[in-house]
Symmetry: C2
Subunit: 340 residues, 2 copies
DNA sequence: AATTAACATGACAACGTTGACAAACAATTT
DNA sequence: AAATTGTTTGTCAACGTTGTCATGTTAATT
């Protein structure tokens, strides 16, 4: 029941084990005849090269996905995107949830890299905004690709996948404006969170190009959670005059906003329009369904993985590349067209 | 910049590399004095044993989590539970989403095992119900732990973590009964799905011990999705007399049921009570919040991982062990107490 | 026919670790 | 003091692969 090795194949085929190695790795300089014979023996024994031994002579074929994010949809979509790319290229994925506030991340990653377990890392916000961490990993000889919010890569420390939250925030705010809304609140602002910041910047830009004055009183800070959405909306509903629309910084907050509005016997969207951001499964499971911005997480992650794997395989492209994603609006049922 | 090896440490400490190996692995038979010196050198060089080389001499210290489940909360919770156990024991996790209907799973797993990448597998439903797959993996010399629905392990092919859906289904049905409901529908039955089957069995048991006749017309088959919940509830609302309560097979279906009821201007729970199953984040984000059954996915998964790791480490326990989980009711706001 | 080049194959070391065994040393018993 | 035991340390092979280099074979050129 022991696993066949390259030597078993060689013995069966009557060639040296090095020749088998050549066949396995598709090197040239092997005659058709021998190649066929070896291939036959490989199938007969169901031989599979021992990855561990391969990695010892070459380089790790595993990457790590490091995240600090309570949003399971986001994580799963990212993970699936990365995985699909890994499968194509014969790489493996090591998952590493973490607490970005602790120094532990650094230690854990250093250990995975130092022990030759992985050769590269995909970083998502807020980890991806930590240049100190990135430099540290780079010094450890690891490859790094980061996913960031922004309309361009901030530097060329490492290849970057950037997602244009600013533009998307502007788009969805413009949509509300077009529907006749004049008093639009923004909830879920987190100054330390680049995506949140970007969405707010887009909101401000859109209002700035309209004739509407920005009212800082209806821009509320808060977490990216349902509970926080409820809380912020409660606060908001006390303001006079009451906003006619709410731009929630993500779908979960938006779901909370709907819940809170409902508790006050307000109709959504007739009495209050609410938009989300991300197009998570949530947005289709609220009542009414959310108008939101589609964020193709799996595609974003796949792109990051593709970059990382290229980097590890040393595809001749010395300079770190970067790539940007623009996001699209998806109109559903949570925005009311005001008559006027 | 090259990573230090055991030999570098040995040279620095002035001992043989084998002695360093002994210190690293905490073997006895090393004098305090030498041990301390070596330890100092290890720290100085920041030496970390090369996992790849270790695995070559010992056994893989990675396990795979294989799932075929569209429910991200479930997957993430499972994953986190497994990961927490892996961390403790110094194991790594390889993630493997799959399509259980394809033969590909078998091939992929065979490859991961055959190439020495992993040494064990955690299987969730429906993969865990596939005895043919389990036997296949066992023949490949892999260790297997499966997570199943049931009130006991069905056989001792492999250690099993079983979750008592029957008992839980009975509990929550009894809760509805206690609240005075006499016409209770069951939606989301999937005959091929053991959990679903178990929950329905619990429902039947509960009704059987009450004086209420089971009406097969209000037991509806369907998928575990929001959309299916909407659809089934629409059908249900046509039945005469209309049920006063719905037992949805999971929270997502229940969320769909609430949505559908709402569209018909029915109040939840006053006009119709709805319960879910799983206690996913969903259940706290519907309006009203769902009464449901708490399923401690992370704990279940952690237990499975602990079993698997024990198995791989050959902790002397020849016979496969098994472990069962009982589930508890969580009462929230979606059940109405009928007066009578 | 002899020389060269190109191709095909094989021998062997190396990767960094652990396990089996042997050697050296110290402590205890005869 | 010699013999026995036990503890500490070292030597070497092995794990399964790939890289380097040498050798053998064939075809092309002189």
């Amino acid at each position: 029941m022991k696993k066949p090795t390259i030597k078993d194949v060689a013995k069966l085929a009557g060639v040296s084990f090095k020749t088998v190695s050549r066949v396995v790795n598709g090197e040239s300089c092997v005659s058709e005849q021998v190649k066929n014979k070896v291939q036959l023996c490989i199938e007969q024994l169901n031989y599979q090269p021992n990855r561990t031994a391969q990695v010892m002579r070459r380089a790790p074929k595993s990457i790590a996905f490091v995240y600090d994010n309570p949003n399971s949809h986001y994580v799963i979509e990212m993970q699936n995107g990365i995985l699909s790319e890994c499968r194509k290229k014969g790489f493996e994925l090591v998952i590493h949830p973490t607490d970005s506030h602790s120094e532990q991340v650094k230690k854990d990653l250093a250990s995975m890299i130092g022990t030759n377990l992985i050769g590269g890392v995909i970083l998502t916000p807020p980890l991806s905004e930590n240049n100190q961490l990135i430099t540290y990993l780079l010094n450890l000889d690891a490859k790094v690709v980061r996913i960031l919010s922004g309309s361009q890569a901030p530097d060329n420390l490492s290849p970057t996948i950037y997602v244009d939250d600013i533009n998307a925030g502007q788009k969805i705010t413009n949509h509300l404006l077009t529907c006749g809304h004049k008093r639009i609140a923004f909830i879920g602002h987190q100054p330390s969170h680049m995506s949140s910041e970007g969405r707010l910047t887009g909101y401000r830009k859109a209002l700035a190009t309209s004739s509407i004055q920005i009212d800082e009183n209806i821009i509320l800070p808060g977490e990216f959670t349902f509970e926080s959405g409820v809380e912020m909306t409660n606060k908001l509903m006390e303001k006079k005059p009451r906003p006619t629309a709410i731009f929630a910084c993500n779908d979960e907050i938006a779901a909370g906003a709907i819940f809170a509005a409902r508790l006050r016997n307000l109709r959504v969207p007739e009495d209050i329009s609410i938009v989300g951001f991300e197009d998570s499964p949530f947005s289709r499971q609220t009542w009414p369904k959310l108008t939101t911005v589609h964020q193709p997480n799996a595609d974003i992650a796949a792109k990051a993985a593709a970059f990382l794997i290229d980097l590890m395989l040393d595809v001749p492209c010395a300079k770190p590349k970067s790539y940007g994603f623009q996001l699209d609006l998806v109109e559903r049922d949570s925005v009311f067209q005001l008559a006027d």
